[in-house]
């Protein structure tokens, strides 16, 4: 019986090649996109969930409440971990981790240099490895109790010493003189981890002037805790508030607070970030999942439409089967089998399509790993689930309709259109399908428009042809800064060179409290940038009043921005000149006011800003070049740098590239929308073509009669197209409010955003109507041109 059903199914598919092709094409494209989305979501949700105690692991994060709002950091004051270990009994383990970078040198046995690299390193307490059960190939966590020991991952150990065995007991020289003994080797970190602990130095090796300061927090000092079994994080509110009372005196302008952030939140929460620097906001994952559902829904709608449309053609078979004694259930099973066959065929094609699209996905997300279709059993489960879901979604309703035909009518081929699921349902489905498409079209237009706007938005400073070369800042390198700057300034094509701690627009911003013309701290913080006297020319900053910084190595004067004056209610920039500011313990006069420039991404507003000189904080050399000279000048810059600072490691980037990086997630979102809107449009319109083909076939006789009565081809095409145009218009009406909600929400995250006008909506309508008209006319023209006599003769 099954064999016979399959035979009939396959023959039917073959006989209606056109419909089958439309079904399989639409389904497989939709399934392929779903597969890709699933692969990506699976990878993103697999972060940090391999630890034995995952549910009990938390990170302590810091908050400061200002009248303006809450300021957050993933870091904690350096004395916090030992204090918490002492005071909060509900914590089983507490561990401090300090993120840093260092120049590491490995020597050959004869004492000559084998390699020298600038790497991220982590100072960590041994407890960290009791909280997280990383796999130790050599040694154990206790080796981190000793100062001047280092633990490497397998790969790093191989790079440095050839193998894990050979690495043990060897020494690595940190920052030009501090030898570290290799005491352990860890298994390589997984790429889906927020802990890239490739080089871990014992915390006892770590030195910082702020070791005991509760008032100084950098986001690089993190603290992880393991709760005792059975302790609920909510029950820790009381101990933590006691802790806050004990260690903070409440005199600072921002009210300090500490929260416990669950391990499972680390990869997703953009408020705090993590050691790996890879964040995937959950909303984006949800967005992708919704798009995936839309895709599969659109493809299923095609299927339902085509299947119920074809149902009439199958009625005779159903009638005969019923007369022969087939029960309704058996017929349903038979038709579901057919759908299953199509789904499986589509899945096979979808795998091929997905495999072809994988390189694109990898490069889009710039992830250095390859998604693979067959790497995880859960992917198989998903595929099976997808096929079953699609078969059911797409097959069940048509099966119900077809199997419900009355045998007496069916056998005489007298099933009318109304009995076969009717045009009504099909119209609703098409409207849904179009509405989805239109939402995506509008979304795509707005996202691309916003991105174009952001790219063209004047930032208030010059971003073109500026290279940012990092410079080491220690007692050995600092005296050579002047020489380095002089030599690089002389390179042909270089027009200005400035030493600074950060470019005008940066993701790393120093916030500090300050006072203006009084002894009391203001209620908001200020962004402090350290820069020398060349900064203004290097970045093309404009002055509103006074002059720029003069040549000094320490802070002796300040330049502020217009936003600061606005916040301080100073009307005229010139009025601020000569007033005193106290910031980070330094009192100095304001000598100049710069015009506002964007100091963060365009998502944020411009902060109040302070520019001052301080050689001890410079970390960057901003090299402004003539646009044409970049290619020739950059190698020279590197050569000069290496000559002046031979014991350090050179690295550089470009200002405009850095700025482009701020909008990485918008770039990804934009590309995804473009691709998926295209795919959904494709699926919808092949479905549309299928439907119009069917409608045209159904109405052949009517068209013929009308033709005989004198209708022209144009009139007939219009007749067929009208209902589709009405459907598209309905879909637009449904889609607009949805798209509006989505788009305004998305735009609201940008401080600088396009005005939402009516034209993305109008354009989406125009596009949808044009494409629909083109698709439908293609088929209805053919129907209108057919010979009327043929249609009337054979009933």
């Amino acid at each position: 019986m099954f064999k016979l059903n399959l035979k009939i199914a396959l023959r039917n598919l073959w006989r209606n090649k056109g419909y089958t092709a439309i079904n399989i094409l639409g389904l497989s494209v939709g399934m392929a996109c779903c597969l890709l989305i699933f692969l990506f979501i699976r990878y993103q949700t697999s972060f940090d969930n391999n630890f034995a105690n995952a549910s009990r692991i938390f990170r302590v994060v810091s908050t400061w409440e200002y009248p303006e709002g809450i300021f957050r950091s993933k870091g904690t004051p350096r004395p916090l971990p030992p204090a918490m270990r002492e005071d909060i009994k509900e914590f089983e383990k507490v561990a401090a981790v300090q993120h840093s970078s260092a120049i590491l040198k490995v020597n050959l046995p004869d004492g000559s240099e084998k390699l020298k690299v600038n790497r991220a390193i982590f100072f960590a307490e041994p407890e960290l490895f009791e909280i997280f059960n990383f796999n130790w190939l050599k040694g154990n966590p206790s080796v981190l109790n000793t100062p001047n020991t280092v633990v490497l991952t397998d790969t790093v150990a191989r790079t440095f010493f050839g193998s894990a065995e050979q690495a043990i007991g060897q020494s690595v020289i940190m920052n030009q003189g501090q030898p570290l003994r290799v005491a352990g080797v860890l298994a390589n970190m997984q790429p889906n981890s927020s802990f890239p602990l490739n080089i871990v130095v014992s915390y006892k090796t770590y030195r910082d002037p702020n070791m005991q300061s509760w008032g100084s927090v950098t986001s690089a000092s993190e603290c992880y805790v393991l709760l005792k079994p059975g302790v609920h994080p909510a029950s820790l509110q009381a101990p933590i508030s006691r802790f806050l009372k004990k260690y903070y005196d409440g005199t600072a302008p921002g009210k300090e607070g500490h929260l416990l952030q669950p391990l499972a939140d680390l990869h997703y929460n953009a408020d705090y970030g993590n050691l790996a620097g890879q964040i995937m906001p959950r909303n984006e994952l949800y967005g992708l999942a919704v798009i995936g559902i839309f895709l599969i829904l659109t493809a299923c709608i095609n299927f339902v439409n085509m299947a119920t449309a074809q149902a009439v053609g199958r009625s005779k078979e159903v009638g005969i089967r019923k007369v022969m004694g087939s029960r309704r259930k058996e017929l349903i099973v038979q038709f579901l089998t057919e759908t299953l066959a199509i789904s499986v065929l589509s899945l096979l094609l979808a795998c091929v399509l997905a495999e072809m699209a994988l390189p694109g996905l990898n490069s889009l997300f710039r992830e250095n790993l390859s998604f693979s279709l067959f790497s995880h059993p859960v992917i198989f489960v998903f595929m099976v689930g997808l096929v079953l879901l699609v078969s059911f979604l797409a097959g069940f309703y048509p099966a119900l309709v077809i199997s419900g035909f009355s045998p007496a009518l069916a056998i005489k081929n007298k099933i009318s259109q109304a009995a076969s699921g009717g045009m009504g349902l099909r119209r609703v489905l098409v409207v849904v399908q179009f509405a989805i498409t239109i939402v995506l079209i509008i979304g795509t237009i707005v996202i691309l428009e916003q991105m174009r706007y952001v790219r063209n938005q004047p930032l208030g400073f010059d971003t073109q042809a500026v290279a940012l070369v990092s410079v080491p800042n220690d007692s050995l390198s600092r005296p050579r800064f002047a020489n380095l700057r002089d030599r690089i300034t002389k390179i042909p094509g270089v027009t200005e060179v400035s030493l600074c701690d950060a470019p005008p627009s940066s993701m790393n911003n120093n916030q500090s409290s300050f006072s203006y013309n009084s002894t009391r701290d203001e209620t908001f913080q200020i962004n402090v940038k350290f820069a020398d006297e060349h900064y203004q020319r290097a970045f093309g900053l404009k002055l509103a009043a006074g002059r720029f910084l003069a040549r000094r190595d320490i802070t002796a004067e300040y330049v502020v921005n217009e936003t600061l004056l606005k916040k301080l209610n100073v009307r005229e920039p010139a009025d601020a000149l000569g007033k005193y500011i106290v910031c980070q313990g330094v009192k100095a006069p304001i000598v100049g006011v710069v015009r506002d420039f964007n100091n963060m991404t365009l998502r944020e507003t411009i902060s109040p800003l302070l520019l001052c000189s301080r050689a001890a904080s410079y970390e960057l050399l901003a090299v402004k070049m003539e646009g044409k000279a970049i290619m020739q000048a950059m190698p020279q810059v590197e050569k000069t740098w290496n000559e002046v600072l031979p014991e350090y490691v050179y690295s550089s980037s470009f200002m405009d590239e850095q700025i482009a990086n701020y909008y990485e997630s918008e770039r990804v979102t934009g590309t995804l929308f473009k691709v998926f809107a295209g795919v959904i449009m494709f699926i919808s319109f092949i479905g549309l073509f299928g439907l119009i083909s069917y409608v045209a076939t159904q109405r052949t006789r009517e068209l013929a009669i009308r033709k005989v009565l004198g209708a022209s081809t144009a009139e007939l095409v219009q007749l067929l197209n009208r209902s589709f145009i009405v459907m598209v218009c309905c879909a637009n009406l449904v889609a607009w409010p949805l798209a509006y909600l989505f788009v305004t929400r998305w735009l609201s995250q940008f401080n600088y955003r396009i005005e939402l006008t009516v034209w993305p909506f109008a354009l989406a309508m125009l596009v949808s109507i044009t494409v629909t008209l083109a698709t439908v006319t293609l088929r209805s023209y053919r129907a209108a041109k057919t010979n009327a006599i043929d249609a009337l003769k054979y009933e």
């Binding site: 006789r701 009517e702 005989v708 009565l709 004198g710 022209s712 010979n787 009337l792």
Partner: protein, 232 residues
């Protein structure tokens, strides 16, 4: 009114060529009621379709009131058709989704007659056809005879010079069949030229002249004395 000379029409499929019309010559005078008879496949429906400009012969000439129709372009053919011709089919060919009124109105719409004029013309013909109380009904709600009346009404509403009928009684029982034939006679008497294809000698007896076809030729013509007297 109609002069047909040497019409040739061949149907080609992948394997066979069938000659449907093989050099037909024929004349229809204004006001005449002509029946075309012959066995199945003799070409009578094809001839009717050619006369209705629904089909195109390979060669020959077809003049209608001194206009050569076979050389017209598609658009002109359909314009000519909707102005001058009405059709009645064996299976009525009414549109199921439209009411009786709307079905009858259709040719007027395609002839760009304005709405008030359309209403007047349709009501007139509905009255004449004695289907006034049916004008809000859909075709399936009517008997075969009533459906064919509607079809005839639709063919006439435009006041065509020529009505072409393809076995108008083929799907009707004899009582309803006679009703339709009497209707056609009545129209003919009022001056409409009618060409009818039929299998039935009984139906043919209502016409002035009977043309017999076989294998695409006219094999005989017979004047129906009882009816043609009035014409002459």
């Amino acid at each position: 009114m109609i002069t047909i000379e040497n019409l040739q029409k061949v149907y080609k499929t992948e394997e066979i060529e069938t000659t449907a019309l093989n050099g037909i010559n024929m004349h229809v005078a204004e006001g005449e009621f002509v029946s075309i008879m012959g066995p199945s496949g003799c070409g009578k429906s094809t001839l009717l379709n050619v006369m209705g400009l629904l089909d195109k012969p390979e060669s020959g000439s077809y003049r209608f009131l001194d206009t050569e129709l076979l050389t017209l372009r598609d658009r002109d053919r359909s314009a000519f058709r909707k102005k001058n011709m009405g059709f009645v089919f064996q299976n009525f060919n009414l549109i199921d989704e439209l009411t009786v009124f709307e079905n009858i109105e259709l040719p007027l719409i395609y002839n760009k007659v304005n709405a008030s004029e359309r209403k007047k013309l349709v009501n007139e013909i509905i009255e004449r056809m004695n289907i006034v109380n049916r004008n809000k009904h859909f075709p399936q709600q009517l008997s075969g005879g009533q459906q064919q009346r509607v079809a005839v009404a639709r063919a006439l509403v435009n006041r065509p010079k020529l009505v072409l009928a393809d076995e108008p009684t083929g799907n009707l029982d004899s009582a309803h069949g006679n009703e339709v034939m009497e209707l056609l006679c009545e129209l003919n008497e009022q001056g409409t030229t009618i060409v009818m294809v039929t299998h039935s000698a009984h139906d043919a007896s209502f016409s002035n002249r009977i043309v017999n076809l076989k294998d695409g030729h006219v094999i005989s013509e017979k004047i129906n004395k009882s009816r043609s007297a009035e014409l002459i």
